[in-house]
Amino acid sequence: MTAYLIRRLLFFLPTLFLITLLSFLISQSAPGDPVEQMLAGKAAGGEQLAEKQASQQAYLEKRRELGLDLPIFYFAVAPLAEPETLYRIPRVPIQDALRRLVYKFGNWAAIQAYYEAFQRLDSAFFATANDPSWGDRRADARALLVLIPQEKEYDEILYKLRQLEGLLIPLLKPFYAEVLQKVEALPAQAQRWKIYIPTIHWYGTENQYHRWLMGLLQGDFGISYQDKRPISQKLLDAVRWSLIINIISVMLAYLISIPLGVNAAVHRGSLRDRLTGMALFMLDSLPSFWVGTMAIIFLCGGDYLNLFPPGGIQSTEHSSEWSLGQRLADWTYHLILPVLIYTYGSLAFLSRQMRTALLETLQQDYVRTARAKGLPETLVIWKHAFRNSLIPIITLLASIFPGMISGSVILETIFSIPGMGFLSYGAMTARDYPVIIAVFTIGAVLTLIGILVADILYAVVDPRITYTKR
């Protein structure tokens, strides 16, 4: 059994690693610039050169603080044309646009020359903030100056530059001419062959993923865009409610489904079996978010019955001064409906599995032997068959758990339970990517742990399991 456990653990760790990789990969594909999200518009800068420089400074500092000036991963595969240090260029959209140009022309020196000429034009633009000859064209010119370096298509860059030309004051024309010259020279200077030679850059442990992973191991999930609080703190509050509800419902589901399944299996083919089978089948197909919505509309105040509170976990007057009994009663009153709805889905699934498992065991030879030697039927079922049929049911814990965690996104939203799912839903609507990623990572880790626990239980219940053969 120890060997088996070690095997399982050996599987657990790489999978965990893969999950962190997956989370990180998804977080990298989130649109926008995380530094700008974090500064919430403060990085845009004002009209004056000094303000512009100050905001750029703030941006760079925040970026360094968040570790986003580091390379993304331990190594990178890139075309020969792409410089090793492209990741250092500030502002994600600009970096992306320059990378796209590299993929098109393959000549970094020429692209860099364009970008530097553009930066000179940009600085010169801000230096002329008080020039009266601008008139009302300045705002338009500024908008174009923001857009041009983010533009991914070459033709669009040229088009926007031509638009800009008519707006600029004479003082800036020489700077503009330089940019235009550099851009127009790009196709002629292209070195496309450099795109087709892959290279590998090695960056070592000073990279974003490594920092993120190390933070993760210490329980640091980063900072929420919405309220700038550490995510771990927000998660800690939320995980409690999700776990309470999930554990209560899993236990309830097991408590109800085991006798139900046994009963159906024992009276196989009877009317009772058929009726429970039918009812369970219906329950299995009932989408829980539908039942939840119906329950809220018909049972929780509103225009119809008023049996349950319309969501939340405690009433508004709930306070820590209440006696424990009062507080528990309040929580129970609020959680009955959600817990019931959490439970029924897995209940149906579990009972049906229990029935099948027991039916299978009842066909075994040792059951026939037990019956043949005249043991009473209850003893045969509960002592000989039941215990053995429990094994597959226990492993089902592993497959119920992930479903419950993701199911809680919808149900917690319907019932406004401040758990992980609700947190995640709020983050989804607010585009608070770090929180979404953190919930996914935690959910995945909890799932993995659930599977590991089920595996261990499986080995404990059935001593034959060693996994040495296979």
Partner: protein, 433 residues
């Protein structure tokens, strides 16, 4: 479910025929097959069941086919006279007309009947034919029309995502089951040239084209499919080119040495890893971060749900590959791939059908859950899930909670029943009970 004690059909039936005969005797399952058919018809003919223009009408003594004209317009032809382009056909003084059952398009906002008018409440309509039979949602969209057109989305999601899952699952499952860990051999020359070839191909086909692929994903299903095919062609072509010299290398003693590929072990590990992911949460996360796109939803469901199909196929393949007729085919000198695809696979697919039926049900459930939360599917698209979620903002609107939910329930139950029926018909072990 219904236990069917089958009179064993006579032996002259082929296995497929026997499965079908057993399946037909399960009334629920047989009925569910018909329901699927009806649903498919509703989805195909949605425009003729619910639309804001007549099927055929005579206006100012001119006979027209307005719905077909709209089809033409959608294909890029200019068919409408300017004065008829944006007109409300219900308000026109038509000589005669054949209307769809529901005279509203699914996304159409009926502002006079907003927000949320009950089917039995007061509605402001010109005639009883324009009644909102199942009420309207909080924006004044007709619920029945939304349900009819929503069936398209639900069925598409179910079929496409399970289709993706089936392609991946059957391919990998068949590989793992047929070849196991010892049957697939390659020469050292092929391995040492082919592997770098594939890696280089992935670099050209996918890594360098990643921006193009991402853009194609945003443009729609067929753009993406085309772009994906191009990528695959590039991968294949590059790998072939790099692999070509291996024919020479094979002549050396070093290159000719043959190596077993651990196909089964590798694929089984991949399956285990995917099973241990919380797939629904993964889909929610990816879809919430990416741009709303129905195809992305389907692709994500497909990519995460193929493991069941792969395991079924693998198991069947393991059984089939040791049968006599496969040995006979080997003795005839057929290649492994030919035997696998033409002879072994067709006999391994029946249990996969079960997985496919259950897969459609759960894909539809995931999609409606996503649109219930309002993520993944573009906000203007009316789906069953989005109609149901309207019930949360319009308090007391029972019709918004009941009907869309009922639609989801019926479809999910239907496919689950179908799956159960197929399983009972295919798995003789269960028949014996």
């Amino acid at each position: 479910m219904e236990e069917v004690q089958t009179a064993q059909p006579s032996i002259s039936y082929s296995p497929g025929r026997r499965i079908w005969e057993t399946f037909k005797q399960n009334r629920f399952a047989y009925f569910s097959l018909w329901t699927v058919g009806v649903l498919a018809v509703i989805a195909l003919l949605a425009d003729f069941l619910a639309y804001n223009k007549p099927i055929i009408a005579s206006y100012q003594s001119k006979v027209m086919w307005p719905i077909f004209r709209d089809y033409g317009e959608a294909m890029g032809f200019k068919l409408w006279e300017p004065e008829l382009r944006k007109v409300d056909w219900r308000a026109l003084n038509l000589d005669w007309a054949l209307w769809p059952l529901v005279r509203y398009a699914p996304e159409e906002l009926d502002l006079r009947n907003a927000p949320a008018v009950s089917p039995f409440g007061e509605q402001i309509v010109r005639s009883s034919a324009e009644w909102h039979y199942l009420g309207t949602d909080n924006l004044g969209r007709d619920v029945l029309s939304g349900l009819i057109h929503g069936s398209r989305i639900s069925l598409t999601v179910g079929i496409v995502s399970v289709g993706i899952a089936a392609v991946i699952g059957i391919f990998l499952g068949a590989l793992a089951g047929y070849f196991g860990d010892h049957s697939l051999q390659v020469s050292r020359a092929t391995l040492w040239l082919g592997l770098p070839g594939i890696l280089l191909g992935l670099y050209y086909g996918f890594y360098l084209r990643r921006y193009a692929l991402a853009e194609a994903l945003g443009q729609g299903f067929f753009y993406f499919l085309g772009s994906l095919l191009l990528s695959l062609l590039i991968v294949g072509g590059t790998a072939m080119l790099v692999w070509l010299p291996s024919r020479l290398l094979k002549r050396t003693a070093w290159g000719a040495h043959r190596i077993h590929l651990w196909v089964d072990l590798t694929i089984s590990r991949i399956i285990e890893v995917i099973i241990s992911l919380p797939t629904t949460l993964l889909i929610f996360t990816v879809v919430a971060i990416a741009k709303p796109s129905l195809f992305l939803v389907m692709a994500m469901i497909g990519v995460t749900s193929w493991t069941g199909i792969a395991r079924f196929t693998r198991g069947e393949m393991l059984k089939v590959r040791s049968l006599d007729y496969i040995q006979a085919a080997r003795a005839l000198g057929y290649s492994d791939w030919r035997i696998m695809i033409l002879h072994a696979l067709p006999n391994s697919l029946a249990p996969v059908l079960v997985s496919i039926a259950f897969g459609v049900a759960s894909a539809i459930l995931v999609e409606s859950g996503l649109s219930f939360l309002g993520i993944g599917v573009p906000p203007t698209t009316v789906t069953w899930g989005s109609l149901l979620s309207a019930a949360r903002s319009a308090t007391g609107a029972w019709w918004l909670a009941v009907f869309p939910g009922l639609a989801i329930f019926i479809v999910v139950t239907t496919f689950n029943l179908l799956g159960e029926g197929l399983r009972d018909a295919i798995d003789p072990r269960l028949q014996a009970r």
